[in-house]
Structure formats: C-alpha cells, structure tokens
C-alpha cells in the first residue's frame, strides 16, 4: 500500500488585534511519519493546522493529499472538514463534557455499523489503555486520561492524517513518554502523516523525525531536530528552542583557515571565537548559547581545548528543580546552569569571581 503526501501551499491574512494583520504563508509537504511543528507561540502553528483541517479557509493557494485536493483557491475547491478524513486533537482536547468516554469515541463512528464500531472502540481502548474509563465523563478523568481519550477518539475514526496541537501539554515526563510510546506503536501499524505541534524539546527528541520551524506565520527551517534546533539561525527560533543566552555582538575578524571568526560581545571585555558564519566583519549579529553548554570555573583554567574564557562575577544563584541557575555578569549577562552538586562543591556564592568556559561550537550565530 502506498501512502500519500500532504502538500500545503497557502496564504492567509488574519485581521489581528494589532495594526498589521497576521499573515500565514506556508509552503511545506508532509510525508507519512511524525513531523514536528516547532516555534514560538503566535507563530501560526494552530492556524496552519486549522487550515489543513478545513476549519479556516486560506485566501489563496492549495492543500492536497496525494491526488486529492482539499483546498484549491484557483479551482474554487474547499472540501468541508467532515469530508477530509483526518483527525485533529486540539490543545484544549475538546472532549464533549456531556458524553461519556465511549460516547465521545463513538461520536466519530456513527456512519459505521454497530459491529465495526465495537471493534474500533475496543482497539483504541486497548491501545491507549482506557478500557476501564469508558463509562466515565471527561470531568471524572485526570489530565493524562483525558489526553489518552482525545487521542483514542481521534484515531478510532481511522484518519488519513493526524493533526496534534500540543496534545501532551501539562503532563509530567513519564506520563508523556508512555502516551508517546502508545502513539508511536499505533503509528507503526498505521503510517500516516502526523503533524505534531509542541514547544517541548523533550517531545521533539522523543518522536521527531523531521522538524518544521515556524515564526511569524512563515516556515523558517526544516530538517532533522538536531540540524534545526541545535543550531538555530533566527532569533525567535533560538528563543523557542530554549537558548537561554542570546547576546548581541559584532563580528571582529574572520579566521577562515581555522574555520572560526572572532566576535565582540556587547559590553564584554574579551572577544570570543565562534564557528565561521556568513556575516562580514563589522556587521552586527547575535550569538545563542545554551545555559547548559557553559562551564563555570572558580580559577582561571589552563590547558583547555575550549577557546573562550570570560571572567565575571556571580550576580545571583537560584535553585530550579534539579538544576541551579547562576547569573553571571561578564560584560554581558550570562545564564549558566550547573547541577546542585557542582554548585556545592565549587562553593558558589553571590559576588564571587568566576570564569566562564564556552566551546566554540556551543556558540551559534543567529541573524
């Protein structure tokens, strides 16, 4: 059996609350398998899913699934959501509060015979571990159970495309993993395009085969999660991908033979080295560095391969769950994450002199 591609080329203006309308302009195609839609809130991720589902009508362009046109502005085709044969799990889940779990699932199956309905309900109930919840109302379910029911209701319809808008927000990591695993097992049996919106880096790493990043209604980049998210090339993306340090800087010189360039961080006393990028000497850029990629030393370290050493003083130390966030003023302000154990053994204290150690390849040029 061959599986169809979902291709999207749409343009839509939304009359926003601000002066300038929000424009969604996306060209992308989605093969069977998971594609993560990643980007800051307000990037247009949900709007894109709404257009694919047929809940919003693009101004121009087309949306196709294989040879079938869901939407084609030039030929005035706009298939209703009821007839697109896809499933959509909303961020709010949108379970019907007045219907029991089994009635929620059956809601999408009314066109099928009773025997087929029973078969499908049994299959999704087993796959998503909700067989013991079938008679409950959504109000009687926990957060994780609701999310399982929403996935089950969506997949029971046998969709050709699955749209998931942050379906696992607000769950703890282990619960998220187990639901993701169920979803992945289902997907092995039914390899359809799955568009998965999330802000959560852990979810990206757990399921992402491909990532499509959006900001301001446009596609920024697409590719493997590592290529796209570990080396962000735009500011909104760097922020969304969880780069705690995005610092303004100026390019000082290129050292092409070493594959690096030297840059001056704003307010910093020393220049640092970053991988060579397409920015001319003298131009203004930004550098993104993860707080977890910076090492802290209490004395000036010697004999290190890391090329970037910055002296600074600790401004604040804050325990955040399993990590300690240290704010260091080294010309510019840096956020550094260390483990509680490291903070203890280094005897870190506010006002203390420290050295920041940053590998060249932990610095990412952002335009």
């Amino acid at each position: 059996m061959s599986w169809a591609m979902l291709t999207v080329r749409i343009h839509k203006e939304f009359a926003g609350s601000g002066d300038t309308p929000f424009v969604l302009a996306v060209t992308a195609s989605f093969a069977p398998g998971f594609t993560i839609l990643f980007g800051p809130s307000g990037a247009g991720k949900s709007a894109l899913l709404d257009c694919i589902a047929g809940l919003q009508r693009p101004d121009t362009g087309e949306i196709r699934f294989g040879k079938e046109a869901f939407f084609d502005a030039s030929r005035r085709v706009n298939v209703s959501p009821q007839r697109r044969g896809l499933a959509y799990v909303f961020q709010s889940l949108a379970l019907f509060p007045h219907l029991s779990v089994v009635e929620n699932i059956r809601y999408g199956l009314v066109k099928l015979g009773v025997a087929e309905q029973r078969k499908r309900i049994e299959r999704v109930a087993t796959a998503f571990h909700i067989a013991n919840l079938l008679d409950r109302r959504p109000a009687e379910l926990s957060g994780g159970e609701k999310q399982r029911v929403a996935l089950a209701r969506a997949l029971a319809t046998g969709p050709r495309i699955l749209l998931l808008d942050e379906p696992l927000t607000g769950l703890d990591a282990s619960l998220r993993r187990s639901i993701l695993e169920d979803l992945r097992l289902w997907h092995v049996a039914e390899p359809i395009p799955i568009l998965y919106v999330t802000h959560n880096r852990e979810e990206v790493d757990a399921i992402g085969e491909r990532v499509l990043t959006l900001a301001n209604g446009r596609v920024l980049e697409s590719g493997s999660p590592r290529a796209v998210l570990d080396a962000p090339r735009s500011l909104p993306l760097a922020q969304a991908a969880g780069f705690e340090n995005v610092l303004p800087a100026r390019v000082v010189e290129h050292r092409a033979e070493d594959g690096v360039m030297r840059i001056a961080l704003e307010n910093a006393t020393r220049n640092i080295e970053i991988p060579l990028g397409a920015a001319e000497p003298g131009s203004k850029v930004r550098v993104a560095i993860r707080a977890g990629d910076i090492l802290l030393a209490t004395e000036a370290p010697h004999f290190l391969s890391a090329r970037n050493l910055l002296p600074g003083t600790i401004e604040s130390i804050e325990r955040r769950g399993a990590l300690v966030q240290v704010r260091v003023k080294a010309g510019a302000n840096f956020l550094v994450h260390v483990t509680p154990g490291a903070a203890r053994s280094l005897e870190l204290a506010t006002g203390q002199l420290v050295w920041l150690v940053i590998k060249t390849h932990s610095c990412h040029l952002v335009y």
Binding site: D50, A53, G54, L55, S80, P81, Q82, R84, L86, A87, Y88, F90, S92, L93, A94, L95, F96, P97, H98, Y107, G108, V110, K111, R137, P138, A139, R153, T157
Partner: protein
Amino acid sequence: MNGEAFLLSLRLAAMVSLLLLAFALPLAYVLAFFRWPGKFLVESVVALPLVLPPTVLGFYALVAMGPRGPLGKFWQALFGHSLAFTFAGLVIASLVYSLPFAVQPLVASFEAMDRRLLDASAVLGAGRARTFFRVILPLAWPGVLTSLVLSFAHTLGEFGVVLMVGGNLPGITRTVSIDIYDHVQALDYASANRTSLFLMLVCFVILSIVYAVNRRVWSPWPVE
C-alpha cells in the same frame, strides 16, 4: 381568587413560551454563530420589546390585528372571524412582547460555548444538524430552560399588552393581571392581595426551581 383568570394566564404563558422556544432556537443560533451584514438591526428589533412601553406594542398589535390591519385581514380570510380580542390574538401579541426573554438566554449560552467543541464535532464528521442536536443543545440546556421559564414568567405577568389587544373578556382574554387590576378598580383590596400574593408565589417557586436545577447541572464548558 379568580381561578378562571389564573388558568387562562397559565395556558397563555405555556403556549407562548413553547411557541417562542421553537422560534427563538433557530434565531439565537444564527445570531450567536454567524456574522452577517445587518445583524445588528435584527438584534435591535429583538431587544425592542425590552425598552418599549407595553402600550406601544399593544397599540401596534391592535392596529395590525384590527379588521383593516394586515394580520387581521389575513386572519379573517383564514378563519372567518377577527383576531383582536381573542385568545389567539393575545398569544400573537405576547410572542412579540416576550421575544427578548426567550432569545437572549439562548444567545448567551450559545456564545459562551467552547467553539473548539463545534470544531471537534465537524472534524469527527458531524454536519450542522447533528452538531446542533448532539452538542450545542445538550450543553446549552440551562440556557434553554432559562429561556422557557423567563418567557413563561414574563408572559404570566404581562398587563399592558393584554389590556390593549385582549380587552377584558372572562375566560378568553381576562388574564390574572387584568383580574387584579379589576379588583383594585373595584376597591376590593383583599381579593387583589390574594391573587397578587398567589401570582408572586408561583413566580418565586418557578424561578427557585430553575436556579436550583441550574446549580446542579454539570459544567457545560470545560473546566481547567
């Protein structure tokens, strides 16, 4: 107390509130879920009986129902008798008079509905009709109940419109509020008091039931 007048009022209120519900449901649906040019005009017309003196409504209803009015002529042609000063005429005038009380609770409960539930219904394959009967109506039922009860109670208590189009025919158009008025006119305060008290009690019980029931319904919108 005048039982006949009271039964007549109940009959009128029941009929009007049921007829109004049938008319208000589709009207509230298009007002709550669709945007169209001129919608504000329809909204104003629906709200008009809230602010107009009942005598104004009654006056135009009387003119329309009279032997030379459009409604009166139509009725005459259809049934062979005039519409003014009949029970049917009273029902028609009351429909207009209580319209906002039927429509507005419905619009409010429709508008408060989580739109994503309607989206979910559409994506799950349900058309407009199924979404209305399986999702909107069951979730808006406190609004439906409020609509029914408010238009019932409002019709029960109407006076000015009845006076204008109904007159004062025992068993046909003499409702309980007219009856009270008659007692006061005749300086029979004891009778007026008995009837008034009873009417007040009935309205209080009805409203209490509504609020008690409404409190116990499951939350129609998702609770976070």
